[in-house]
């Protein structure tokens, strides 16, 4: 394509044409239009006619900024056009630059240096201001370094319009080129005494930014800030100055005492909500130990809370949340407003109110608060309802349920929450139910009742959000079946037809629990018969059975309805495991057979399931039934005769499995794996190929330590267990086979199993493994070490024991741990950065140690502004001295101080306010002395 011609210039489309074109192009064709326009622009922008070029660049900038067109290729054209004598061209060029240049990658930025320098020195204020605003957009270290002298001049420009912009731009320059601080800082500080509100506002804004990042370095400027705080009447300036004091006051208690009074005055006097709010926030965050001020601030907050403006209400609640950390009374005082805000239309407000309500939670009121919140949750939209549930679960579960005293209430409450229609917090409820089951022995009875109610309700199965809860309930029902009122009923619930709606993983839990229930029933029956060979109630049910031959489901349910009324009182006798004999009073051979048949009928089809988990577990149960059933039926048919014989074998087996299941599960420490001693000669960090060779012989002890059931005993019956092969593999296989397997797949063995133990938050999967792990030597040691049973001493009400793991705290209080870690990391990063800089700087640049340090920081550290700022601050003490030396500067500072205190004395006569201020000045000077003494290397002394 030929270069741009006159025709192009004449018929060039304007920006407006482009905008109109885009607006008129039918939906979907916009991008084609833009692409076409970009082609035109590419041609036009090469034009030698500045107007054509400017229009092209203008169009391109528009398309870039609002339609995402790439314009990195046109960077040079912006540079070219920036030197145009026409202001409008220059403006287009600089607008393009500031909207599209990437300060760290656009190389042509350097080519702008000269033009910017020229414009910064221009006599036209608008040219200067354009250059300043461009500079602050595209500033990089080189640009900052090269233009610092011009900026320095502008900082004391007689034109206010330019001076305030220069002050604002200086922030970017400091960030990019900390050496500029040496040059400019003094002039910036001088501007603090400027009478013009524009300048003052700019310079206070600048210090507000700097203080935000590292307040300590600016403590010595407190007298200047104080003067502004007392004298100034401009809300914008006051807000910024108060923000500065919010950062400074916590560093120096005496400073807080000085500023609290003027801040309170502003708060009382001002009509501007923004200033009032800033005062309130500063008092409650940084001056919270001044009780009278906090009282005033809370009074003001109440006005905000009562205001109709939702913004004020929202900010008021936020501030109240800050007060709550130190002064709980403030929240309690406004309790009714907070609770009212819970039903506000505004989600922001509701959330803040909720947060505040949760602040108020204590052991005494948790039940009441939860009740109120749940009633709110029921009324709320799904989203907020879940927020509420989230907060409740978080607060109650915090720090091992520290606010919960009545676990019976809490587990019932968990069940209640699961039933809320919008509840989507199933997974959290699930883990708490299981967790409480494992940690709080005394809560288990109630837990089993709650679980029963959940499992038995067919309606719940239709709600996928609470499948997790149901999994937990099923697990609890199976694991603590001995506490159940009626195992048959549980079994029916676990096998009800609607369980087909469950996800396979949850269904697997159901089946596994059914397994536990059946084993429990069988075992109880055997025990019962062993204790009392006369089979007391057997005859009762043999009749029933003959009445309904082959329809065992109905028989079972009949049994349920029969036994239910008799049972309720039996269980609760001692609050602990009821004795088997009383519980299983109605347990008969017939009922057992019915139960077994029920299980068989229901699980039969699942043995062909596509889902391995379901299939496997169903097969386990069916395998057991296959073994047991003939024996049971045999007993039934032949009566007394062979019964003892058949029963014996079956009983052995049942007892064994029951034994395996009856182990008490405890929580496993997150760090448990670390405590497993590494076998001799196993170098974990080595190449895994080596591991494969080693593990054949050495790993064997470990493999048994993770086996699933009691090894010694299982071996005896292992030949009977072909169907439960998968489940009990390690025990049924001989150890040599296992070793073989391990040899073949040894590569994956150790990590996989360990991971299973450590991070298994899926409840049922815990049980066989963890149980087994308890039995093995290594892990017994582990759990002995890691299980600490903590009891709150001298508690008036007795609180159930909550099992905690000594080292698990970090993991349980997960919210806190990472923060802490992050602090450490950032601390370390800073340390490393500073250290590096110290070591490398000398080699880098010899002329000026300081500046090389800084440059180092700049280059290595673009993303870490804090540490960069650290450097800025560290430089500050020398700002004044760079030209005149430390001592001289000191003298200069003194002079100025004298001057200003002299001025104050004059004012003293005029009004009380001023005299106070003079005092303040004096005091804060003393304070600065103290600060200086404390941190002499950091704090500059040029104010003294």
């Amino acid at each position: 394509m030929a270069g741009p011609s006159l025709m192009d210039s004449l018929f060039q489309r304007s920006v407006d044409d482009i905008i109109k074109g885009i607006r008129l192009s039918p939906p979907g064709t916009e991008s084609t239009f833009i692409a076409k326009s970009l082609d035109e622009i590419r041609r036009e922008i090469k034009s030698t006619d500045p107007q054509t070029k400017a229009t092209a660049l203008h169009k391109l900038t528009y398309l870039h900024s609002l339609h995402g067109a790439d314009m990195s290729w046109a960077a040079f054209h912006s540079v070219e056009l920036s030197s145009s004598s026409a202001h409008s061209h220059k403006r287009i060029a600089f607008l393009a630059a500031s909207l599209s240049f990437n300060p760290s990658t656009t190389e042509v930025i350097l080519l702008l240096t000269h033009q910017l320098r020229k414009d910064l020195s221009s006599s036209n204020v608008h040219e200067v201001s354009l250059a300043l605003s461009t500079l602050s957009s595209i500033c990089n270290p080189d640009l900052a370094r090269d233009l610092t002298p011009e900026l320095f001049t502008l900082l004391s420009s007689s034109k206010i319009f330019v001076r305030k912009k220069a002050i604002a731009a200086v922030l970017r320059v400091f960030e990019q080129y900390p050496d500029a601080v040496l040059v400019c800082f003094k002039r910036v500080v001088e501007n603090l005494e400027n009478g013009d509100m524009g300048v003052l506002s700019a310079v206070v804004g600048l210090f507000c930014e700097l203080t935000e990042k590292d307040p300590k370095s600016y403590l010595p400027l407190a007298p200047e800030f104080y003067k502004i705080l007392v004298d100034c009447r401009n809300n914008w300036v006051l807000i910024k100055v108060i923000k500065i004091f919010a950062k400074l006051a916590p560093l120096e208690p005496r400073l807080g005492k000085r500023v609290v009074e003027p801040i309170c005055e502003h708060m009382g006097r001002t009509g501007a909500k923004s200033l009032a709010f800033e005062c309130v926030r500063t008092i409650v965050t940084s001056l919270s130990d001044h009780d009278s001020a906090v009282k005033l601030a809370v009074g003001k907050l109440r006005e905000f809370l009562l205001d109709d403006d939702p913004n004020l209400k929202y900010l008021g609640l936020q501030a109240l949340a800050i007060v709550a950390r130190t002064n709980m009374w403030a929240v309690l005082e406004n309790k009714e407003l907070v609770v009212k805000a819970l039903s506000d239309v505004d989600v922001n407000i509701k959330l803040e109110a909720l947060r505040l309500v949760m602040c108020m939670v204590s052991e005494d009121n948790i039940m009441e608060i939860c009740r109120i919140l749940i009633s709110h949750a029921l009324k709320s939209d799904p989203e907020f309802c879940n927020e509420i549930l989230d907060f409740i679960l978080l607060t109650c579960g915090r720090n091992f349920y520290e606010v919960i005293f009545d676990f019976d209430w809490y587990v019932s409450f968990l069940g209640e929450m699961a039933r809320i229609p919008h509840c989507q917090k199933g997974s959290e409820i699930e883990s708490q139910l299981v967790d409480i089951g494992m940690r709080v022995k005394d809560a288990r009875l109630q837990l089993v009742h709650v679980a029963r109610d959940l499992v038995i309700d067919p309606a719940l199965l239709g709600n996928p959000f609470i499948h997790g809860v149901l999994a937990a309930a099923a697990w609890v029902s199976g694991e603590y079946i001995e506490l159940s009122r009626n195992p048959f009923e549980i079994m029916e619930a676990l096998l009800q037809p609607r369980t087909s709606l469950l996800t396979p993983s949850v269904r697997a839990v159901y089946i596994q629990s059914a397994f536990k229930v059946i084993i429990f029933c069988l075992n109880s029956y055997l025990k019962l018969n062993g204790d009392d060979p006369s089979y007391p109630s057997e005859s009762t049910y043999s009749d029933v059975k003959s009445d309904y031959p082959g329809r065992f489901e109905t028989v079972a349910s009949q049994l349920l309805s029969d036994t239910e009324p008799d049972n309720p009182n039996m269980v609760v006798k001692h609050g602990q495991k009821p004795s088997v004999s009383s519980k299983m009073h109605h347990l008969t051979l017939e009922s057992l057979v019915a139960l077994v048949n029920l299980v068989e009928t229901n699980l039969g089809p699942l043995a062909g399931s596509n889902e391995v988990e379901v299939q496997e577990r169903a097969s386990n149960v069916l395998g057991l039934i296959k073994l047991i059933k003939p024996k049971l039926l045999g007993c039934l048919d032949t009566r007394e005769g062979d019964k003892a014989n058949g029963e014996l074998k079956a009983s052995e087996m049942v007892e064994l499995i029951f034994g395996a299941f009856s182990e008490d599960l405890g929580p496993v420490s997150l760090n448990a794996q670390e405590r497993v001693p590494v076998p001799d000669g196993l170098v974990l960090k080595e190449n895994l190929r080596d591991l494969e060779e080693i593990c054949g012989d050495i790993e064997l002890p470990l493999s048994t330590s993770f086996s699933l059931v009691k090894l010694q005993t299982m071996d005896a019956t292992s030949n009977l267990e072909h169907h439960s092969k998968e489940e009990f593999e390690p025990s049924t296989e001989s150890t040599s086979l296992l070793a073989e397997h391990r040899k073949r797949h040894g590569l994956y063995y150790l990590p996989a199993e360990n991971a299973g133990i450590i991070s298994n938050d899926y409840p049922p999967a815990h049980d066989p493994k963890d149980k087994a792990s308890d039995e093995t030597e290594d892990l017994v040691k582990l759990t002995e070490q890691s299980l600490v049973i903590k009891k709150k001493p001298n508690q008036a009400k007795s609180r159930p024991v909550v099992v905690k793991l000594d080292d698990g705290e970090g993991f349980k209080v997960a919210a806190k741990a990472p923060e802490f870690k992050a602090d450490l990391i950032s601390g370390a990063v800073q340390e490393v950065l500073l250290g590096n800089e110290a070591t490398t700087s000398s080699s880098r640049r010899k002329s000026s140690k300081k500046s090389s340090k800084r440059r180092e920081m700049d280059e290595s550290n673009v993303g870490v502004p804090e540490s960069k700022n650290e450097i800025v601050k560290a430089d500050m003490p020398e700002i004044g001295f760079s030209s005149s030396g430390r001592r001289k500067h000191h003298g200069h500072g003194k002079e100025r101080k004298h001057r200003s205190s002299g001025k104050d004395k004059v004012h003293d006569h005029k009004d009380k306010q001023k005299s106070e201020h003079g005092h303040g000045k004096h005091k804060s000077r003393q304070r600065a002395d103290g600060a200086l003494a404390a941190q002499s290397p950091v704090i500059p002394d040029f104010l003294l």
Binding site: I19, S65, L66, D70, A86, S88, N102, H126, S133, S274
Partner: protein
Amino acid sequence: MIRGVIIMNDQGKPRLVKFYEFQPVEKQQELVRSIYRSRRAENVSNFVKVDSLFGPDVRLVYKTFATLYFVFIFDNSENELAMLDLMQVFVETLDKCFSNVCELDVVFNFKKVHTILDEIILGGQVLETSSSEVVKAVEEISKMESNGNSIISSIPGWQGR
């Protein structure tokens, strides 16, 4: 510091996008879309939680004027209510500069809106809170621009408004 100023219409189309720290344009567009999605109902507080977009401590306040949705993004160094006031100043200034500003004015005056904004905020710092001062400066700039362009704009009538 103010991190960014965005004007978009009620369809989510950006009319002005200015970030005071460099953001690649793709990222800008993504942010505009996310902000548009998180807009809130009428008569509720004007703050939107944007932790997920900009990190903690960054706040977003918006205000709807007719079909336009004004958004200010800022950090801890700014006062929330003062930002709402500043937004008012910005809108007032636009109103004065375009006499009864409407969306079309903002659409067709891309450069001028930037000029106005630059007079109010520089590098994320608030510089001018009086709309009349801003109008004065913007008028001076317009005069300068038309002087410089006098030869060109006097030739044919092609060039726009």
